[in-house]
Structures are given as structure tokens and as C-alpha cells.
């Protein structure tokens, strides 16, 4: 393609403002955080004395941060699995031309319209061990002594208290994955499904061998979106549980906030945020690379 110089100049002018803004406010500040994270800054006045990786070493030695990393790993795993499976199930059912499809779709999608703060407050009350759903369970004669987010039990590094957060987060985002999968399902040409049916494939076989493989790219984007939400989770935790018993519901985001803004330990706080950035980058960058490559 041949473009005139004039056109190129215009194009550059057009994108320049956003490049400058993103350059300063995203990449510039990332570099600034990086610099802070290798500095001795504690207290209000900035102190950029270079301390090498000391903040990172302290961080990885701290029990609290180790717990945070485990929590992030488990939370991300279960949150994504739950969202994807629930979302797919809902989308699959709705896609069968059920009556009142619009209503169901709207109902399932509604939680997405809430902020994590609202979700957190609501679920905090619902799962309160003394007056939450435990009361309903007790009235039904079911086991009702669940501690939910107050339970300090750990199984193989997994804090049982996390289940409460996973439930709340999945409740909010299952509708979103449903919407994505619904779009994906609608995008599958009916000829493909029908010809499989004519060939005598059972419904389950069609789902396994035709529908699921064709939804792969969409599942991948859902995983990326959900993954970066769960790796950065903060507001839900702050509103719902706080740090929890023995940091059972603590996450790097919460630790970062408390370290930096209530403890004035800016160097360490920046180190936490850089670790979080790396975690998200590990998930997102290969995906971006992959999708750019396909566009070419």
C-alpha cells in the first residue's frame, strides 16, 4: 500500500496525543514505580537511595506475601474455572431457544452492572457466620456451622475462607462469560452442527467435538479477561473480608495498599505493585502477541 507523506503526517498527528498520554501516564509511571521499588523510600519524603533488590528480597521472605501469592494462585484458578463452566452452561442452556430467553439473559448479566464494592458488601452480609445464609441452612435442618470467610482452615495451602470470595466473584462474572459464550455459540454456523447431527453424532459428542473446539478462541479471551481481574483483585476483598484470619483472604493488592498508604513504606509497596504487574504481564502479553500475530 502506498501512502502519501501528507497522509502519514496526519496519521502521526492523530495518534500523537494518545501516545504521549499513554507514554507518560502508563509507561512513565511504571518506570517510576520500578525506580521506587529499588529505593529505600519509607516515610513521606521521597528517598531514592538505591537499595538494589532489598525490597523484593524482604517481600518474598515475608510470610504475608507468600500467603498472598498462594491465595492469588488458588483464587485465580477456581474463579476462572467456575466462571467458565457456569458461563458455558448458562449460555448453552439459553441457546436452546428457551422461552423468555431475554429475561434470563438480563438476569444473569445484571450482576456485571454492579461494582465489586456493592457485590462485596452484599456477600459479606449474606455469608456472615452468625446471621447470614447459615440461619437459612439451620432452619432447613442442614449443617449450618460454616465459618465462610472467618474460617482459618487451610488445606494444601488453600484457605477455606477463600471460597466465600470465589463465590462472590464468580456470581458477578459468570454472566459475563455467559454473554461471551452466547455470542460464540451464535457464531457457530448451524450447518456444521446440523451436518454432525445428520452424521449421527450424539448431542454430547457434538458439544465435545464440535462446539467446544470452535469456542476455543473465545474461551481464551474470557480467561485473559478473568485472569487479569483476579490477579489484581482488590476492591472486592476490601469491601467483603479485609485481610481475614491469619491473612486467609489477603491479596497482593491489599498488601500493597496497606504497605504504601497506611504504612508509608513506599519502596516496599512499589515492589509489590511491580510483582503484580509482572504476574498480569505473564498472562496478558503472550495473548496480545498471539492475537497481533494472527492479525498480520
Amino acid at each position: 500500500m502506498i501512502r502519501s507523506k501528507r497522509e502519514i503526517r496526519k496519521a502521526v498527528l492523530l495518534v500523537a496525543p494518545s501516545i504521549v498520554l499513554v507514554g507518560v501516564f502508563v509507561y512513565g509511571f511504571i518506570l517510576w514505580s520500578l525506580r521506587t521499588s529499588v529505593s529505600a523510600w519509607e516515610g513521606i519524603r521521597p528517598d531514592y537511595t538505591f537499595v538494589g533488590l532489598q525490597n523484593y528480597i524482604n517481600l518474598f521472605r515475608s510470610t504475608r506475601f507468600q500467603i498472598d501469592l498462594w491465595n492469588t494462585a488458588y483464587f485465580t484458578l477456581f474463579f476462572i474455572v467456575l466462571c467458565i463452566s457456569l458461563g458455558f452452561l448458562l449460555a448453552f442452556l439459553i441457546n436452546r431457544n428457551v422461552r423468555g430467553e431475554d429475561i434470563f439473559r438480563t438476569i444473569y448479566l445484571f450482576p456485571m452492572a454492579l461494582s465489586f464494592i456493592v457485590t462485596g458488601v452484599v456477600w459479606r452480609w449474606m455469608l456472615n457466620p452468625t446471621f447470614g445464609v447459615n440461619v437459612i441452612l439451620a432452619n432447613l435442618g442442614l449443617p449450618s456451622d460454616w465459618g465462610w470467610y472467618t474460617d482459618p482452615t487451610r488445606i494444601a495451602g488453600f484457605h477455606v475462607a477463600l471460597t466465600a470470595l470465589i463465590l462472590a466473584a464468580a456470581w458477578q462474572f459468570a454472566g459475563y462469560t455467559m454473554a461471551i459464550f452466547l455470542a460464540g455459540l451464535r457464531g457457530i454456523p448451524s450447518e456444521v452442527v446440523e451436518s454432525a447431527r445428520i452424521d449421527g453424532a450424539s448431542e454430547i459428542y457434538i458439544v465435545r467435538k464440535v462446539i467446544v473446539p470452535m469456542l476455543k478462541p473465545i474461551t481464551l479471551s474470557a480467561v485473559i479477561v478473568l485472569g487479569h481481574i483476579s490477579l489484581k483483585i482488590f476492591d472486592l476483598v476490601m469491601a467483603m473480608t479485609g485481610r481475614g484470619p491469619r491473612f486467609a483472604t489477603d491479596f497482593p493488592g491489599v498488601f500493597m495498599f496497606e504497605t504504601t498508604f497506611t504504612g508509608n513504606r513506599y519502596g516496599e509497596g512499589a515492589a509489590i505493585s511491580i510483582v503484580m504487574l509482572i504476574m498480569v504481564a505473564v498472562v496478558v502479553v503472550p495473548y496480545l502477541y498471539y492475537s497481533f500475530k494472527r492479525e498480520d
Partner: protein
Amino acid sequence: MKLRKLVALSAGLLLLLIPMVALAGGGAEEEREEEGLEIVTWWTAGGEAEALSALIDLYREQYPDVQVMNSTVAGGGGSQARGVLASRMVGGNPPDTFQVHGGAGIIGTWVVDDFMEPVTHILEDNDWMDVFPQDVIDILSYEGEIYSIPVNIHRSNVMWYNMAIFEENDLNPPETLDEFFEVAEVLQDRGITPLALGGTDGWEPTHLLESVLLAELGADGYRGLWNGNTAWDGDDVKAALGTFVDMLDYINADQSAITNIDAAEYVAEGEAAMTVMGDWVHGFYLAIGLTPGEDYGWIPTPGTGGNFIMLTDTFGLPKDAPNPNNVEKWLTVVASREGQDTFNPIKGSISARTDADRDKYDVYLLSAMDDFERDSIVPSVAHGAAAEVGWMSRLNDAMTFIVEDKDIEAAAAEMQSLADQYAR
């Protein structure tokens, strides 16, 4: 042509941004001569906000020409306000004065780094050095100068108890730690949670610990914790940690899920018998319609009688404040007998002065005032009077572990290493 319009539009937007950024950074330069007084606080709740506006009204009466600007930053128990404040102070655009926890809270954060002007002369010029207890002056001072004026005093070491429960079970409120464990055992046997404790905000266990430390170490030993004279890994502190761990046998099961006010509510509703919390609980009980001395009672936390753990909100004078003269007038009003007696009965705290007008205070506040005059006064760590915020936040973390792990040796070692780093 469409493209040209777009270019013009985006260029225009960018140009708009520049003055906005400039305005945000350079507001201070445009301030006119000493007309205003900007006060930054995080008092947003009913009684607090009312108390502040009553104090501002008093100031306006005396200095009608000054435009008072009440900049309240809501949220996060002050952490939002501190964030805003930090960026303004470091950015060279300080407010005229701001609310800050007195003691290490202001010294460690603002004074050591040279952000504040000393204000000792305000007390000296008015001959007020003697009406503030010497212990309070000591807590507020750094290298011989006072850097902030206390507007109130809250007490941390108070045990609130449900009077009906104690009467029905024929028990007396415990005055010593031994009595506490006896009473707790009886209540536990009768199916009543003896002690309500919160944990959502991370500092509630520290709040209980400071009372226990004081009970085991005494006032001088307790003060030594913060200047390095008392070892954290010594036998006394370990004994205190052991007592704290023993107390955990008698607390509510949902400790990590409730706030300090929830814990107070457990006591009010009879779900628990006692809770150790600062005297804002009194304000909370009044707000929900309870009667002091009938529905609820109070005594110093067992073992801390004769001692008063204080925390205080103070105002100071930042370097380069736009209107320093108006701030000095404000601080004088704050420190005055009238100012204290205007603010505190509404806020539910006591005057930092010993010559308060007793007619204005209720039955609990009067008893706190009596103790304040008599007792040894020591600073609270859970509320920023004894240790700077970095130390405080890491002590809170150590406490979160000990509540579940109950590992006294590990906690003592961790706390000693914090003291090595921070004590001065």
C-alpha cells in the same frame, strides 16, 4: 475535511489538559494575602463533623474576616485523607492546617522529615503549658518542641461491659487480669461469649494488646517499648503475649469478620459480656439509645487501673502554609478552654486541658476526666500516638498472625526486630 477536524479536536483537548495540570499543581501561588484558612480533616461522621463545625463557628465569631474552608476528605478511617495530604505536602501545596494523630503519628511522618513548624510558643504565650498534663506534652514533643495542638483526648484502655449479664450472673467487673480470667471462665461455662474482639481493620488485636502490655509492664515499662528501653523479646513482653493468647480462648468465633463497633454491639445486645475498646464506643452506645451506668458499664482494662492510654487528634502548622497567621489563631482557639469545651462534648471525648468546664460533660466523660488528671498517661500504639505508621502497620501484621498461630516466641522475635528498626 473530517480528518482535519479530528486533528484539531485532539490537539485542542491536549491543550486543555495543560492548564488543568498547571492549576492542580500551582494553586498555592494564586492565594491572596492571608484571607483564608483551609482545614483538612477526615471527620465525616455525625458527631465528629458537628464538633468540628461548632469549633469553626467559634473561630468565625472571633475572626469574622477569615474565610474558613473545611476540606473534609472522606473514607478509609483517614487513609484517604492522608493520601491526599501526602501528595499536597510533598508537592509543595500544603493546606493551612490538618488533622493528625498526635505523638509518633505526626512526629515520625511529618516532623522528622521537616514538614512542620514548631508551635510551642502558642502554649507558652498564653501561659497554657501547665494546663496540659506533662505526660501529654511529652508525647507531643520532639527534641524539646511541640509540633501540634491536641483538640481532644480519647482513652484506649477501657473495658465496656454489659451490666445485665454481670448482674444476672452475680459477677463483678474484673479489675485485674486474674479476675478477668475467673470471670471469663464462669461466663464461658454459662454459654456467654466473655470477650468481643474485632479484626476487619487489622488494628483491633493491637488495641487489645496495648492494654495487656500496659497491665504486665506498667507505665514505665510500656513507655520503654517505644524508645528501645524495654526489650520486646524479654520475659515481660512474652508474658503479656501469653496473656493475650490466653484471652483468645474467650473471644467470639467471627473475630476476623467484625469491626470494633460490631464487637461493641455484641456487648450491647448481650451476645458478649465485655469488650476492650476506645471510648468512641461510649458515643456509639449513646447513639443507639443506651443509658450509661444502666445498660453498660466501664472500667479500665483489667490490670491497667491508674494508667491512661491516650490518643489524640491534633492540628499543626505545615511549613509554607499559605496563611500561617490564620493558622496560629486557629491553633489558639483549638487550645483554648472554650475551644476544647466546645468541641469535645459533641465529639464524645475529653478536653486535653485539666481545667475543663465539668458542667458540659456527661457521666462517662467526667470519669475519664478524673482519671486523666490522676493517672499516668501513656501513648496508644494502635492509634498512632506511640509509634510511627510504618511500625504500627507491621505490628498489626504480626498481631494478625499471633491471633491464629498463638506462637509467642515468633511474635516476640518479630516485634523485637521491628523495635530494632524503628525505636528511637
